[in-house]
């Protein structure tokens, strides 16, 4: 198979990958349009009026184009559109191909991967990789020999993510309230100090924090360590990440949009500050708080450096998803050599990525808004 054929097939396949979503998207749009037309008809419009409406809209797009240049104008417009769409499709392919590769590779058998040319569709869809990674095989000393301990990874991540997020949201809500509503000496200075800590790179904190938690004996709980040590290890993963200056700043902006009159009215009615926070501010800022919650959870899901630093490489029971994925394959590859477990690597990646994608597609609105308002990754 030459380059051209492969490219063609690939274009087709990657397009196929996106097509599910595309169909859903188009059907949604079509329904919206029909509904609008239905609405118009119900409110007394007739088919002739709708047709004329379309004509008016079309004319508006071609305003001021002399009749003799209309053809050239349309050709130019269409060409520009085609170029734009081709550009966007190419970028979309660039984004989608790794996902596509991840999916198909995870369904290939090890023999097929080892075949001379990588195939773009699995010759035979197998769940071999999935079977393999879910089957944990232990060394005599109890460490992991083979497989990916998803149960522990997911469980730990959810545990750590849950507590980090809950305490972060509480801390952020109260701090944002204090900085947006309460008047106390030094509030501006304190807020400026907090903001300036955002400029400091994480490494500066991590070095000392690593020292702090190791002094407390909270690092690297081993397989046979007692509960106290394990709880310490969890605390090491949770405590340093409670609170967030950035989210405080973000929520404070939202709180500040709540008008002062509302606050004074509440004061006149004898509503206390904290009651005001819970009864009025939080309900109004609910979308922002949801956004913060999601972004914080996603942050835990993607955390790598710190969990990797404070947990024991040998103790698979303490792994979170990111370092777990990386650690698990390190031992598998050492055992079998690279290349033989590509399908397993992809299956593992897929399983780790999937929950994020599901969350993204269900809560797209909140996530994208949060990012637009200045979220940063990491």
């Amino acid at each position: 198979m030459g380059f051209k054929e492969i490219l063609l097939i690939l274009l087709g396949l990657a397009a196929l990958f996106g097509i599910g979503y595309l169909v859903v998207y188009l059907v949604g749009k079509y329904k919206e349009k029909k509904k609008a037309e239905q609405l118009a008809l119900e409110s007394g419009a007739n088919a002739a009026e709708l047709a004329r409406a379309k004509e008016i809209q079309r004319k508006e797009k071609e305003a001021y184009v002399p009749a003799d240049q209309l053809r050239a104008f349309r050709v130019k417009r269409t060409t520009l559109k085609v170029i734009t769409y081709i550009f966007l499709i190419l970028i979309a392919l660039f984004i989608l191909i790794p996902f596509y590769w991840m999916v198909i590779t995870s369904f290939k058998s090890a023999e097929e991967i080892a075949a001379t040319k990588p195939s773009l569709i699995p010759n035979k869809i197998t769940f071999e990789a999935y079977k393999n990674i879910f089957q944990l095989e232990l060394n005599p000393n109890g460490t992991l020999k083979r497989g990916v301990p998803f149960l522990y990874m997911f469980g730990n991540t959810i545990l750590v993510g849950f507590f980090t997020t809950v305490f972060t949201v509480i801390s952020v809500v109260f701090s944002a309230f204090a900085f947006s509503r309460l008047r106390f000496k030094g509030s501006d200075v304190l807020f400026t100090i907090l903001l300036s800590t955002m400029m400091v790179p994480g490494e500066v904190f991590i070095i000392t924090n690593y020292g702090t938690v190791s002094r407390l004996g909270w690092v690297g709980a081993r397989l046979n360590d007692d509960t106290v040590k394990i709880i310490g290890n969890y605390l090491a993963m949770i405590l340093p990440f409670i609170g967030s200056v950035f989210y405080t700043f973000y929520l404070r902006q939202t709180f500040k949009q709540v008008s002062d009159e509302l606050y004074y009215a509440a004061k006149v009615d004898g509503v206390g500050d904290f009651k005001y926070l819970f009864k009025i501010m939080i309900p109004i800022a609910k979308p922002t708080i949801i956004t913060i919650t999601i972004l914080s959870l996603m942050g835990s899901w993607n955390a790598y450096i710190w969990p990797n630093l404070v947990t024991d490489f040998q103790n698979y029971k303490m792994w979170l998803v990111s370092n777990g994925l990386s650690n698990a394959f390190r031992s598998t590859i050492e055992l079998t050599g690279p290349g033989n477990v590509l399908n397993q690597q992809m299956a593992g990646s897929l399983i780790v990525t999937l929950p994020l994608l599901i969350v993204f597609f269900t809560l797209k609105k909140y996530i994208m808004r949060g990012v637009v308002r200045g979220g940063t990754k990491g």
Partner: protein, 301 residues
Amino acid sequence: MLEWKKDGWKAAIALGPTLLIMAVFTFYPIVNTFIMAFRNNYKFLSGVDEGFGIQNFVTVLSDPRFLGALKNTLLMVVVSVPITVILSILIAVALNSIERLRGFFQTIFFLPYVTNTIALGLVFNTVFHKDFGLFNSLFNLGAVDWLGAETTYWRAFFVLMVYTVWNGLAFKIIVLLSGLQNIDKQYYQAAAIDGASKWRIFRKITIPLLSPMILYTTITSFIGAFKVYTSVISLFGKGAGASNSFGPDNMLITVVGYIYNKLWEAGTPFGVASAGSVILFVIILLITLIQRRVSKSRVHY
């Protein structure tokens, strides 16, 4: 003298717990890391040192590994930032100019943002696999080793740039697109009245009005690129702490990578790692200051 305004005690309740945690895990570390950076031959667990001085900085700055890491990082910054920013401006403008399928493309372009860096690093590792990878077979390159033992610096660097661009577009596209959509339509009407051509409108109205967003995305990607670490680690698939986790002979080690490797090293790593992180902090501080300057003189309106 010490006159608390009337909400003082409420603020103490609201902020107390947060400030307590921050004192331990945010404020103290900043101070402590700076101090450690200036303690000669500091033993962390015993807490002894050989006095204060700049020995750690001398060690770091004369370490060829650090200079190599700095060179690598600078190269990544210089290559990846312009590519991602320019490409995302183009994409955002293209998205803004279409109506049909805008939401669809927007969603697709956003996907890399919601993926796990380690997992997708593994995927890129597979795509660029020497024998079984998609890339070699797609372009009929034969068994070119991109990330394995026989790779070259520039090959590995190329893959890293592809992954960085892939990873970095999402955030910038969405920020720039929202910036474009927030430009008051009336400026375009005014420009139409003033008889500006399409190109002039783009150059004289759109780009200047988008400039705060462009500056913002440029600065965040500058800072992000200086702190690059996880994506390099994930690409080579060995995991942090493993030997040669930045490619053969750690060829693509970054400044942050250097700092963490020092943490793992036996001996007196804490002081050296601290010094490294202080240097990183200074670099980022400089970028931020430049940003302040630029935004005051150029985008202020």
